[in-house]
């Protein structure tokens, strides 16, 4: 049974349908929020708030077939609100640069990074780029949304989304170059 059918059943008075929908989406929302904040507690809180908001506002969703961009919009807005409300970034660029440079230079060589270390560096790199670009990259690269769906989720024009994606990837590349992470790391891991 797909999301749209669950929503219709929920609207017709079947409370368990929303539970099934929430269970289906909680991991995805948590994964999105974790990549946005790199913080488990923050991700758990955003997941809960997203599901609560979805429950409270599901009657406002006109097209049940567009639940995916709709719930990602809720999650993205909550992430941006949380960042602005707290007036902070989870990791400041300078600190992250310093930590990561240390990891890259004094730890294992960049060309032989373990998968876990590489993952942590990638997570830190995401925190260094602007929020709007970060959200687009996460939705595209990790959540697998189409550009059109991301545009719907963020309520932005399609070309704006693509532009954010383009500049976000360029910014990440510069960060990787700064940390001396080379493509050999990837190739080593693939071996």
């Amino acid at each position: 049974m797909d999301d749209a059918q669950l929503i219709r059943q929920f609207r017709n008075g079947d409370p368990e349908s929303f539970n099934r929908l929430a269970n289906r989406w909680k991991d995805r929302i948590h994964r999105f929020a974790y990549r946005y904040f790199a913080d488990r507690d923050e991700a758990a809180e955003i997941t809960q708030k997203t599901l609560i908001n979805a429950y409270q506002k599901i009657d406002l969703l006109r097209d049940e077939g567009r639940f995916s961009p709709w719930i990602y919009r809720i999650a993205t807005n909550l992430c941006i609100d949380e960042t602005r409300k707290n007036g902070r970034k989870k990791t400041t660029p300078i600190d992250s640069l310093a930590d990561s440079e240390e990891a890259a230079e004094h730890g294992t060589p960049a060309t032989r990074l373990e998968q876990r270390e590489l993952g942590e560096l990638l997570q830190k790199a995401l925190l260094l780029i602007p929020e709007e670009q970060r959200a687009v990259i996460i939705l595209k690269e990790y959540e697998g949304l189409k550009f059109r769906e991301i545009a719907d989720a963020l309520d932005q024009p399609l070309n704006t989304v693509k532009s954010r994606m383009y500049y976000g990837l360029q910014a990440l590349r510069k960060v990787f170059q700064h940390w001396n992470i080379e493509m050999e790391a990837l190739y080593d891991n693939e071996k």
Partner: protein
């Protein structure tokens, strides 16, 4: 041919396999024309490949999932609402207006509201009706009251002035009496002094007269001898 920026957007479509055949051929043409775009494409592909190495974070087990209790009181209330409330907007509006009217009447009854209207104004009072003295007065009555107050003020002022004047007269008479007594005493004293002086003068004159008579008598007898 498409511009560089248009080609960059298509590069993303190519990167994520969202490009159609026509756009792909346009992009290939642009890549042949702009070698730097081909380099950008390669860089973006590498970055994308690197990003794909981020492991997925598994959520902790304690994430709270909502368990909506739609079968309880809330559901019963919602069902009741669906049964009782009309579905059309017009009917809902009419029902709403009727409810407001009934509520207004109930409030009026409970709070004992009184609406009063006159030519110039209207008023609303809560509770028992206000006493007559609290009602508004017309201009003539105001003038009468003002005149009465004015008269009373005049009488009070006149009374105060009379009392003050009497007190003043009394004090003046007292002062005049004191002055009179003072000058009377002084006159009596002066008269006594004058009388004493005259008596003394008379005595002196009598004595001088006696001396003169005695001297004249001696002279007479002397001349007769």
């Amino acid at each position: 041919m498409i511009t560089k920026n248009e080609a960059r957007l298509l590069i993303l479509d190519l990167l994520y396999e969202e490009i159609d055949k026509k756009s792909k051929s346009e992009l290939e043409e642009a890549l042949n024309h702009y070698p730097e775009l081909r380099q950008e494409l390669r860089e973006l592909q590498e970055t994308k490949l690197l990003l794909g190495n981020m492991p997925a974070e598994q959520p902790e087990q304690n994430i709270l999932v909502i368990h909506p209790d739609r079968g309880g009181l809330q559901q019963w209330l919602n069902d009741l609402k669906k049964v009782l409330l009309p579905q059309s907007t017009l009917a809902r509006t009419t029902l709403g207006l009727a409810a407001v009217l009934i509520l207004a009447l109930m409030v009026t009854a409970v709070a004992s509201l009184h609406f009063q209207m006159s030519d110039a104004r209207w008023s609303v009072t809560i509770g028992s009706e206000p006493p007559a003295s609290q009602e508004g007065v017309d201009e003539e009555r105001v003038l009468e009251l003002l005149e009465l107050v004015f008269r009373e003020n005049i009488e009070v002022t006149a009374s105060l002035i009379g009392e003050s004047r009497a007190l003043q007269d009394e004090k003046l008479q007292e002062t005049a009496g004191s002055i009179y007594r003072y000058f009377e005493n002084r006159r009596q004293e002066d008269l006594i002094l004058i009388e004493e002086a005259l008596t003394q003068l008379e005595e002196e004159n009598t004595f001088r007269h006696l001396i003169t008579n005695e001297a004249l008598s001696d002279l007479y007898f002397t001349l007769q001898q």
